[in-house]
């Protein structure tokens, strides 16, 4: 008992200063739920930790921020990091724009900045950083290296701030692993980075069985530093996001849904360390009745569009009961189709051509807005897809009118080198109002080296998605968080002069010609057969005794020979007309007229 008291005293002592310092690292949990026009339900979790750590040496003592994240900042010159692990396809036309866009498979993007940093240092740090996070997130990110990473020039701009007056060299690296699968083994370590772990609060809603049966699910991680002056007085922002799109029809119950039906259980309270724990429900689709009703409603006007959100403050809930929200189709409303206009910009990508010699990659970007939009288009083509940039064509297909070709304003192209670096293409052009731009270029199918084929070579090889960035003048369907803010709630009423948008195309699968993998086996079999066939006769000639039968009275005429052959067997059986003589081998060659037969000895 005495010991117990002692321990409690000790904990209290340790907690008191930490509790006070807690003010400078704050944790927020948010859940955003929106029924989409297609009848799907988009759910978005965001866990934000913001830590004013001040000077660099304070990174050794972490509180709410997970230790590996702080140590990453100590080890590498990374200032901003985005990791996405996604399965499924985000359908822009029906889902609208996601809060955080992510490419299918794994995607990593990082900014490095430090004095005297060179590109070679960054290459080294980049592979090590990917390898570190491969261990943290149980993903195969260690396959990221120079051969599949690019350095985008126009697509990405830093969202970190060094605060340094001097011009510190900055480097960006980007890579995708479109083949990467996302499963519980990624969700588990991702949840373990949260301060309240996985059994409490919003994270308890992320149960593997209910995350992986969705139409689309994406785990995200974002980290950035904001410094007042160079490397001193800094803030570290660490955001973990999970985005899932459910199909309520598959969940049964006539399109009605609830937290329990979506996530398998109700919400068991909030994280005690969180400064805010809120659920935001989009109320634009009025065909649902909510029970219980939101605690309060809030309206967000952004970029010319208005949305209403119902807010549930989980910290104000009391009682031990699991909290549940149900969306029930209104009885009095006629079954209505929500007339959400499609988002202003979306894109698709295909592989054209037939055979296994030449092909064409085509990307179609559609602008549904009534103004021209500036576009930055980025392609990251693996080294095993030799592309021909002289065949690059940008064709505008207006919704009414004749199609015509345009030239990009700026083109940044780094040709790939086999086994060394990928093909990297960035195009800047303007997409006219109400039209589609088709970007196409040709490529060759090539054979790889024997050992470069994966064990399932016939499955095909993946090409990561292209990234399209633009600046929208309107905020319709737009939910991204403004760059100077960090919470989802900060996107409410965040009217700006323009809205930076990032969208991604589908990833592609390419059936490269595969060699006959059983060829070595066949060669061995064939060679062995040939050797066996050659060896057999030589062996028997060398080891067997030759018996020469000499016959008397050989007939000289053809008729006589034939007759003799026919009747020889009978004569042999009778055994009185032939005389067997054993002779030496050398004699064989001298006896031209001798009839030779071999016997096993």
């Amino acid at each position: 008992m005495e010991l117990k008291i002692k321990i409690i005293c000790f904990i209290a002592l340790l907690v008191s200063p930490i509790g006070a310092v807690k003010e400078f690292s704050e944790f927020h949990e948010e859940l955003y739920i929106r029924p989409t026009s297609s009848g799907h339900v988009n759910t978005f979790f965001q866990f934000t930790t913001r830590w004013h750590y001040g000077d660099r040496e304070n990174l050794h003592n972490t509180q709410l921020i997970p230790r590996p994240i702080a140590e990453t900042l100590l080890l590498y010159d990374v200032k901003e990091l985005h990791i996405g692990l996604t399965q499924g396809l985000w359908r822009y036309e029906t889902f609208g724009y996601p809060v955080v866009d992510s490419a299918p498979g794994a995607e990593v993007r990082a900014w490095f900045a430090a004095e005297n940093l060179t590109s070679a240092d960054v290459d080294d740090q980049w592979t090590k950083l990917a390898s570190t996070f491969s261990g943290i997130l149980c993903a195969s990110l260690n396959f990221i290296d120079k051969t599949n990473s690019v350095e985008p020039k126009y697509s990405f701009r830093p969202t970190f701030a060094t605060g340094s007056k001097v011009n510190v060299p900055q480097f960006v690296r980007y890579a995708t692993l479109p083949r990467e699968i996302v499963c519980t083994e990624n969700l588990t370590p991702w949840k373990k980075l949260l301060p309240c772990n996985s059994k409490q609060s919003f994270a308890s809603l992320l149960n593997s069985g209910y995350v992986h049966n969705t139409n689309y699910h994406s785990l995200g991680m974002k980290m950035r530093t904001i410094c007042e002056s160079h490397n001193t007085n800094c803030i570290l922002e660490f955001t973990e996001t999970a985005n899932m799109v459910y199909d309520p029809k598959l969940l049964g119950a006539n399109g009605d849904f609830s937290l329990r039906r979506l996530f398998g259980q109700g919400l068991n309270g909030h994280c005690a360390l969180a400064k805010s724990s809120k659920i935001y429900v989009n109320l634009d689709d009025q065909s649902y009745d909510l029970t219980p009703l939101p605690m309060y409603n809030t309206t967000s006007k952004r970029g010319g569009s208005t949305s209403t959100f119902g807010v549930y403050d989980i910290q104000r809930l009391d009682g031990d009961k699991l909290f549940n929200i149900a969306w029930i189709k209104s009885k009095n409303n006629k079954p209505s189709i929500l007339l959400t206009p499609p988002p202003p910009l979306y894109a698709h990508r295909y592989i054209l051509g037939h055979g296994q010699e030449r092909g064409q990659i085509v990307t179609q970007i559609t602008n549904k807005h009534y103004h021209a939009l500036p576009i930055v288009f980025q392609e990251n083509i693996p080294w095993f897809v030799p592309s021909y940039m002289h065949t690059l064509k940008l064709i505008v297909q207006p919704s009414n009118g004749v199609e015509y070709q345009i030239q990009p304003r700026v083109m940044h192209y780094i040709p790939g080198v086999q086994r060394v670096r990928p093909y990297h293409l960035e195009l800047l052009f303007e997409i006219p109002a109400m039209s589609t731009v088709q970007i196409s270029f040709d490529f060759d199918y090539i054979f790889l080296k024997w050992l470069e084929y994966p064990p399932d070579a016939n499955h095909g090889h993946y090409l990561g998605s292209a990234i399209i960035t633009t600046q929208l003048p309107i905020g319709r369907n737009y939910t991204a968080i403004p760059i100077d803010k960090h919470l989802f709630v900060d996107s409410f009423n965040a009217t700006r002069s323009s809205y930076f948008l990032e969208i991604r195309t589908e990833s592609l699968i390419l059936s490269l010609p595969t060699p006959d993998f059983s060829m070595p086996y066949n060669v061995i079999c064939l060679a062995c057969t040939v050797v066996a066939l050659a060896f057999g006769p030589i062996h028997s000639v060398a080891t067997k005794r030759i018996v020469i039968e000499q016959k008397d009275g050989q007939p000289q005429s053809l008729k006589g020979k034939v007759l003799q052959k026919l009747f020889r067997r009978k004569q042999n059986n009778a055994g009185n007309s032939t005389k067997e003589v054993e002779q030496h081998e050398k004699l064989l060659f001298g006896q031209a007229a001798a009839d030779i037969s071999i016997r096993k000895n």
């Binding site: 200063p17 006070a20 195969s140 083949r179």
Partner: protein, 359 residues
């Protein structure tokens, strides 16, 4: 009467000889203390390397095998940081799996061996012979994440479990390469030379599994295989809803046994080695004990499958109060007030879009 006397004489003589031999035997035995000290476990930590070497959906059973062992060692106390799990393919989130995120050991869905809390260290294309041998011998490439290293020492009891498709003297990895029994034996020998294990339990469930431990020469290795050379290891049953075999026989019965083991249980390795008799396994389970100095019947199963460490409880008091407790707290509060003043500052972010190029 005469006959009976003779018999009596003979019997008494036999008895004399017997007692003599028995006495001699007693004298020849090792001192009890020594036997006990050999029998006593000397390990300080436990590690597990669990490998599924085969890819493709029809090899679902191999993933179920390896996850069964993973589940057991994790339940018995080996932390995730000391389990290296290698899965060559993803079955849980495979598009063919009607129950996403779940892998079962049984068509009746008794145990979800994949669970809700799993960490796979090597997956997909990472599962190669090279990576496996590098892992065992500790020769991982520079920059490898900590969770992908086998950080064992001379006090580690290591459990190595392999499953996949094998033949006489080899085990296939991902249908594209194979590890031979000689390579395996060399890797274990190198582990011993580098003092990377205290005792090693090698367990393999594949066809002709016994051929894989034949070349071992390193000490303190106990090995068990699901089938002898020339024998096939067989699968247990098929689940019609997924269309493939669920699990292999040997591991199925091993899991059944391990499910009854608790961290404090008295079950021994000897019992574990007899977990699958021939009438249920169909193949003959092979055991190699000649390199192992302890009697498996006296080795607790938790020496390899759990992580039980001898703990000493001290009842003495330790004074851990800081001398300048108040100063410490005041300094912390002051520092934080100062930081509060510095925490609000203005930052300018660069424009996110190259608008200047479109003018």
């Amino acid at each position: 009467m005469r006959i009976s006397r003779q018999t009596l004489l003979l019997l008494s003589m036999l008895f004399c000889i017997y007692t003599q031999i028995a006495g001699q035997e007693q004298n020849n035995q090792l001192p009890e203390k020594y036997v006990e000290s050999v029998q006593r476990s000397t390990h300080t930590n436990n590690w597990a390397v669990l490998v599924d070497a085969s890819r493709f959906w029809f090899n679902y059973r191999h993933v179920a095998n390896v996850l069964s062992i993973y589940r057991s060692v994790k339940r018995l106390g080996i932390p995730d940081s000391q389990i290296i799990l290698m899965l060559a393919d993803d079955m849980a989130c495979n598009a063919r799996n009607p129950r996403p995120g779940q892998v079962y050991n049984n068509a009746k869905q008794h145990i979800n061996v994949y669970g809700d809390d799993v960490e796979v260290d090597y997956r997909g294309y990472e599962v190669t012979v090279e990576n496996f041998v590098r892992l065992l011998t500790g020769r991982t490439q520079n920059g490898t994440a900590r969770s992908k290293k086998l950080l064992t020492d001379a006090g580690s009891n290591v459990l190595i479990y392999l499953t996949g498709h094998g033949g006489d003297g080899f085990l296939k990895f991902q249908d594209s390469e194979e590890i031979t029994s000689q390579e395996l034996a060399d890797a274990v020998e190198q582990m011993w030379e580098k003092k990377r294990y205290n005792e090693l339990f090698f367990m393999v469930d594949t066809c002709q599994a016994a051929s894989l431990y034949e070349k071992f020469t390193s000490p303190n290795v106990l090995a068990v295989a699901s089938s002898l050379v020339g024998e096939d290891s067989l699968s247990h049953h098929v689940d019609q809803s997924i269309g493939v075999y669920m699990i292999d026989r040997y591991t199925y019965y091993a899991l059944e046994f391990l499910e009854r083991v608790q961290p404090n249980s008295k079950k021994s390795m000897g019992e574990f080695l007899q977990v699958c008799p021939k009438r249920v396994c169909i193949s003959t389970v092979g055991v190699r004990k000649d390199l192992y100095r302890r009697d498996p019947n006296k080795v607790p199963i938790t020496d390899f499958f759990g992580s039980i460490r001898p703990t000493q409880i001290s009842t003495g008091r330790i004074n851990i109060t800081l001398e300048d407790e108040e100063d410490f707290i005041n300094a912390a509060i002051a520092a934080e007030e100062e930081a509060a003043q510095r925490s609000t500052f203005k930052v300018e972010f660069p424009s996110q879009f190259p608008t200047e190029l479109f003018k």
